[in-house]
């Protein structure tokens, strides 16, 4: 039984009991407990089922390396699958569920896979399920999917909140253990901006569990003084519960902070993503213990030796009355000693090494613990929990020498420095045979933007496992850093540590060495993904020799723990099997995050209405109040139409369009881009930007212009107004404003930097109101103060004036073919003017119209729309806009591109109008015309497509424009458009449907 001991537990508060439930059962724990410690304290040893074979699984480790103890926490909007029990703090009332079983944890039908496991080795599915062809999708795949997958996903929306936080520091210390705290303490007086992050709720790392004394006092005292001292330095920030997740280029680091759970559960800030820019990183992440590979090593009760010690000391939880120990190094003796000291029994330590001499083994022996050299475990006894073990000779094949009864087995296969963050940006590792570990290769470090090493591993992260070695090693790094930053160090006092000689860890991987094939299939390497020794054997046998291949073939290290405890064992097995040194086998690639981070944390506050900025015009609220049906247009929102009570969208659009044709309508055109271009060379510059001639434009006049990219493709269009000799105002499409402004600046800054031109994107400065319709002038004249007659303001001209007491610019331009004015006014006054116009227009039944009516109106006139008639492959010539392409200019952007053979091909598709023969329904959007002949690919050749199609309320019939092969040459021809197999016939006609002779505007 795993139980809570009467005393002990440095991080729990026995005065604060907590209740929680596990699979519906009410249990008790203490404040400070983790989910894992609380479950163990309640003798809940079976905590889940493995991924593939649904084997029973128990808590294995005490930190983020835990492969088995994953749970689903909470419910509803707070339901969270796959939570690591050993890193999750217990909260009052927490509902915990175990995962991956049906119908229950104890009785899981999925475990039939276990029985059939011999049939299901690594990669079995590549070799079967191929026939019949349909069976994979309909039979096998669903079955495989259902049995995989761990926890169930939440079904409710997340009710929690997340945010980000940027910081810039000189030094980021990762890990608040001994080495990290020591480094921070030594560097604090330099005044460098230091941020130290620790993933657990407490500081000190392994200090308290593993050492009684440090720095001349008890280790607890050293920790307290250190933390106190650090808190006096304003330049140092310590943060716990914050796991550093990833290191990116140029010193960018992300860390995931779990915020303490407030007592009320009413939607709070749950996590914070730190986005850190740091000059240097001190990596003090410690080391992670490895298990050993032996038969039955996955049975609940087999646990990491250090983990057992942590639960004992931090939480006062016993692993059971009798704990046997299997180790290849001295560190695990600490567990045996600690258990014995507290009064629990350690029947046996099996040490795979031949000779055992270190300080700790000696101490253990003195305490009366039985220590057996050169021994291993032949087989673990028990099904859902350990009941005992068979001891064997390590060098043999596993014959049982003796049966030992025990409830727990503490395993240690040595330690692996926690080097993940060193490697995210390409820091290399090397295998150190004498220390049996991959350590950072200081010759091949990750570098910063200057090519200098920017991560500095210290302590166990750099492979120093003995406490007494750490201060000197930290000092070296600290001195180097201080020098790099050119900060003097005051006299460093190195804390003293007891000198414990530990003997070398032995490179034991398989226990026993001569394990038989049948047993290799009962020996686990990766617990969560059910990768066994035999799977690795099989991968190698089949030629998956690269470690990357064996990883992908067996899924070793691909589980939620990312192989923190299993990868090195796997690599060693490959190395043994192939007879290739560890360094040659190498590791797989370390990738962020170090520990998984919620996707919600990554999204941060950018959700719902903050998902993306919505740009609003000053008239937005008026539109809203008038029932606008919105449409996103780039980052803006614009009314698509305004719905009257009970009206459909189509009806609204038709009504609005007709209103403009019959009396007058008004449009919020504020979103159109407005770019000022001024300077001695402004005219010359615009002559390069636009295909037509802007230099000849007279002040006071406007001209419609086209812009092409260097390929010659039409990119944007708009009206240019010449304000004075050296100043132009260029209107762009709504979506084009920023891009075109950037485009202009690009040419001015990078190509023609000697030209004297300034630009400014002043889009938001003005509200632009379009007034269009036969009675537009009458409405405006009611507001008085300026002359707007044909003589005073002819078509394609503009002038300043006053309307309704406001200073305005009025442009006489038209995108609807009607008499039309665009009024530009300071944004702050725009809404007021809008309302005044609306008032004034009432007697003419003025109505606001939205973007869709605008489109209908322009289509009736055969005007093109960027994004409809153009798509990045269309040149102005295709659209019959040759008149807007200057033949006189030597050069403009796009001119050269348009010379190329494909762009001068006489067969290009060109713009025409399309008249549906039966005239009932508009042509569907985007349909293609197909010809009688076939193309090279064996299907009917396409010879045209619809680019815009609408119902014209004015003409009371459908209208459409399209691009058709040699279109204008084929007037009157009838094309067949394929609409979902149905052929719709349409005649090629002139695309100016309404008022082709321009009598209205």
């Amino acid at each position: 039984m795993t139980v809570r001991l009467p005393t002990g537990g440095t991080v729990i508060d026995r005065s604060k009991p907590i209740t929680f439930s596990f699979n519906g059962k009410k249990l008790r724990g203490y404040k400070g407990d983790t989910v894992a410690s609380a479950l163990l304290a309640n003798n809940q040893q079976l905590v889940g089922r493995s991924f593939k074979y649904h084997r029973p699984r128990g808590i294995f480790a005490s930190g983020p390396e835990e492969p088995n103890g994953l749970f689903t926490l909470g419910k509803g909007g707070k339901l969270e699958p796959n939570q690591v029990g050993s890193t999750t703090e217990l909260t009052d009332g927490l509902e915990i569920q175990s995962q991956n079983h049906w119908p229950s944890l104890e009785t899981d039908f999925g475990s039939v896979a276990n029985v059939a496991s011999r049939l299901l080795p690594a990669g079995f599915y590549y070799k079967t399920f191929m026939a019949p062809k349909q069976a994979w999708k309909h039979l096998f795949e669903p079955a495989i999917r259902q049995s995989a997958g761990l926890g169930k996903p939440p079904m409710d929306n997340d009710s929690d909140h997340y945010e980000h936080f940027y910081t810039h520091v000189d030094l980021l210390v990762v890990g608040g253990g001994i080495a990290g705290l020591l480094a921070a303490r030594m560097l604090a007086p330099t005044g460098l901006k230091i941020l130290l992050l620790e993933q657990t709720p407490y500081f000190g790392g392994r200090l308290i569990q593993d050492h009684d004394e440090f720095g001349g006092s008890s280790s607890g005292e050293w920790l307290t003084t250190t933390l106190e001292e650090l808190s006096t330095h304003k330049n140092v920030t310590l943060r716990n519960r914050t796991s550093v997740a990833g290191v990116y280029d140029h010193g960018f680091v992300i860390a995931d902070e779990k915020l303490p759970d407030p007592s009320d559960n009413s939607g709070y800030l749950k996590r914070r993503l730190w986005k850190i820019r740091t000059k240097r990183i001190v990596l003090a992440t410690g080391a992670i213990e490895r298990p050993l590979c032996f038969v039955g090593n996955d049975i609940p009760g087999v646990r990491l030796a250090s983990g057992i010690r942590d639960f004992l000391q931090n939480y006062g939880v016993s692993p059971g009355d009798r704990t046997a120990v299997l180790t290849n190094n001295d560190d695990a003796y600490k567990t045996a000693i600690a258990l014995t000291e507290i009064g629990l029994s350690v029947p046996l330590i099996m040490d795979t090494r031949m000779e055992i001499r270190g300080t700790l083994p000696t101490k253990a022996r003195k305490m009366g613990i039985r220590v057996e050299p050169a021994r291993g475990i032949g087989e673990v006894l028990g099904k859902k929990t350990v009941t005992g073990l068979e001891m064997c000779s390590q060098v043999g094949e596993g014959t049982s020498l003796e049966i030992i009864g025990c409830e727990a087995i503490a395993v240690s296969g040595g330690w692996s420095p926690t080097v993940h963050l060193w490697s995210h940006c390409n820091g290399k590792l090397k295998w150190d045979d004498s220390r049996t570990m991959f350590v950072p290769d200081w010759q091949k470090p990750p570098v910063d933007s200057q090519g200098k090493q920017n991560i500095f591993p210290i302590g166990s992260a750099d492979g120093y496992l003995q406490l007494h070695d750490i201060p000197v090693q930290v000092e070296t790094t600290v001195k180097f850093l201080a020098q790099e930053f050119e900060k003097p160090l005051t006299n460093l006092e190195l804390p003293e540590a007891e000198r414990i000689t530990e003997e070398k860890c032995h490179g034991t991987w398989l226990v026993p060495f001569g394990m038989k094939p049948a047993n290799r299939a009962k020996t686990w390497v990766d617990f969560q993904n059910d990768v066994k020794v035999s799977d690795i054997d099989l991968a190698l046998l089949e030629g998956f020799e690269s470690i990357e291949h064996s990883k992908r073939y067996t899924t070793l290290g691909m589980a939620t723990d990312q192989g923190k405890t299993s990868n090195v064992n796997g690599i060693a097995l490959v190395s043994h099997n192939l007879g290739v040194p560890m360094n040659k086998v190498g590791t797989t690639t370390f990738r962020p995050p170090y520990s998984p981070i919620p996707l919600g944390t990554i999204a941060g506050t950018a959700k719902q209405e903050l998902f993306k900025p919505t740009r609003k015009t000053p008239i937005d609220a008026w539109h809203e109040a008038n029932n606008a049906h919105w449409e996103p247009v780039s980052d803006w929102r614009r009314p698509y139409c305004y719905l009257l009570e009970g009206e459909t969208v189509e009806n609204a659009v038709n009504r609005e369009a007709l209103r403009v044709r019959t009396t007058v309508g008004m449009l919020d055109a504020t979103t159109l881009g407005k770019i000022l271009v001024k300077g001695r060379d402004a005219a010359k510059f615009l002559d390069m930007m636009y295909t037509n001639n802007m230099g000849t434009l007279k002040p006071g006049r406007c001209r419609y212009g086209l812009m092409c990219d260097e390929n010659g493709f039409l990119m944007d269009d708009g009206v240019v107004a010449r304000l004075d000799e050296t100043t132009f105002l260029c209107h762009t499409t709504t979506g084009g404003a920023d891009h075109i402004h950037g485009w202009m600046e690009d040419w001015l800054q990078c190509e023609w930097w000697d030209w004297r031109v300034f630009t400014a994107n002043i889009t938001d400065q003005y509200v632009q109101i379009g007034i269009a319709g036969p009675q537009a002038r009458e409405v405006l004249e009611k507001l008085g103060e300026m002359g707007l007659s044909e003589e005073e303001l002819p078509f394609m001209s503009w002038k300043k004036g006053r309307l309704a007491g406001f200073e305005v610019q009025v442009y006489r331009i038209s995108f609807s073919g009607e008499l039309s004015y665009e009024i530009s006014i300071k944004a702050s006054e725009g809404l007021e003017l809008w309302k005044r116009i609306y008032e004034a227009g009432k007697e003419f039944s003025i109505e606001p119209y939205g973007t869709e009516a605008l489109h209908v109106l322009r289509a009736e006139k055969g005007f093109i729309m960027i994004g409809d008639e153009t798509d990045g492959t269309v040149i102005p010539q295709d659209l019959g806009l040759d008149w807007a392409i200057s033949k006189k200019k030597d050069d403009f952007l796009g001119k050269r591109g348009q010379y190329r053979s494909f762009l001068t091909d006489p067969d290009r598709w060109r713009l025409v109008g399309l008249d549906v023969l039966d005239r009932e329904e508009p042509l569907p959007h985007g349909v293609y015309a197909q010809s009688e002949d076939q193309c090279d690919f064996g299907h009917p050749r396409m010879e045209g497509r619809v680019t815009s199609t609408y119902y014209s309320p004015m003409l009371k019939r459908p209208i459409a424009m399209g691009l058709v092969e040699r279109g204008p040459e084929r007037m009157g021809e009838v094309l067949k458009f394929n609409s979902g197999g149905k052929m719709i016939k349409a005649k090629i006609v002139n695309h100016m449907f309404y008022d082709p002779d321009k009598e209205v505007q």
Binding site: H161, E163, H164, F165, Y166, T167, H168, K193, T237, L238, R239, L259, P260, Y268, L269, R272, K275, R277, T605, A606, E609, L610, K612, P613, T614, R615, K616, T617, P618, W636, L676, K678, G679, R680, R756, F758, A760, I762, T763, D764, Q765, Y766, K826, A827, S828
Partner: protein
């Protein structure tokens, strides 16, 4: 360390009465510098800085662009005066009072709130009094500077003011503010 600031979270409000004038020109030119100074009584700021005197500030936007802040009512006068003074110079001077929204932020922990949304280095030695930082807040372009630790200004495009306001609200209401700067 991780406690809520007792002084209360900062607040953000629109300041309506600020006029703004865009000034583009060759800022290295002596004539320009002197002309500007004569008209505004404020020296052309060094790069990345903002200079202020008696209600008029000049911010450095780019090597050839300044933004002049002054009371809204004085904008016309200033533009006329500049046009007069710099007659013949290559400049672009424009009333942009409505182009951007100006926010005033007051309270404590302003750096922290900004740091939730901006990648700018907000350390006190980098973001100093008189620093004018153009950067990003959430997903949009802004600039900010401060008069005092407890009184900052932020400008953004007028059409994006609503977004800024909401994001600021969310950044000050939800959960604690890490005391960092």
């Amino acid at each position: 360390m991780a406690e809520s600031p007792a002084m209360g979270t900062p607040s953000l409000k629109l300041s309506d009465n600020t006029g703004m004038v865009l000034f583009r020109g060759e800022l290295k030119s002596k004539t320009l510098q002197e002309g500007l100074f004569e008209v505004t009584k404020v020296k052309v700021p060094a790069k990345g800085r903002i200079n202020s005197l008696d209600g008029l500030s000049i911010a450095w936007m780019s090597p050839d662009e300044l933004l002049i802040f002054l009371p809204l009512g004085d904008v016309g006068k200033l533009i006329d005066a500049l046009d007069d003074k710099l007659e013949g110079e290559e400049t672009l001077i424009w009333d942009v009072s409505d182009l951007r929204s100006v926010f005033q932020i007051e309270g404590h922990f302003i750096r922290e709130v900004l740091a939730k949304n901006s990648p700018a280095d907000l350390n006190r030695d980098k973001m100093r009094r008189g620093t004018f930082r153009r950067t990003r807040f959430g997903q949009v372009a802004v600039a900010f500077w401060f008069k005092e630790e407890t009184c900052w200004f932020l400008i953004c495009r007028r059409s994006e003011a609503g977004y800024i306001q909401r994001l600021f609200e969310v950044s000050t209401q939800e959960g604690e503010i890490p005391s960092f700067y």
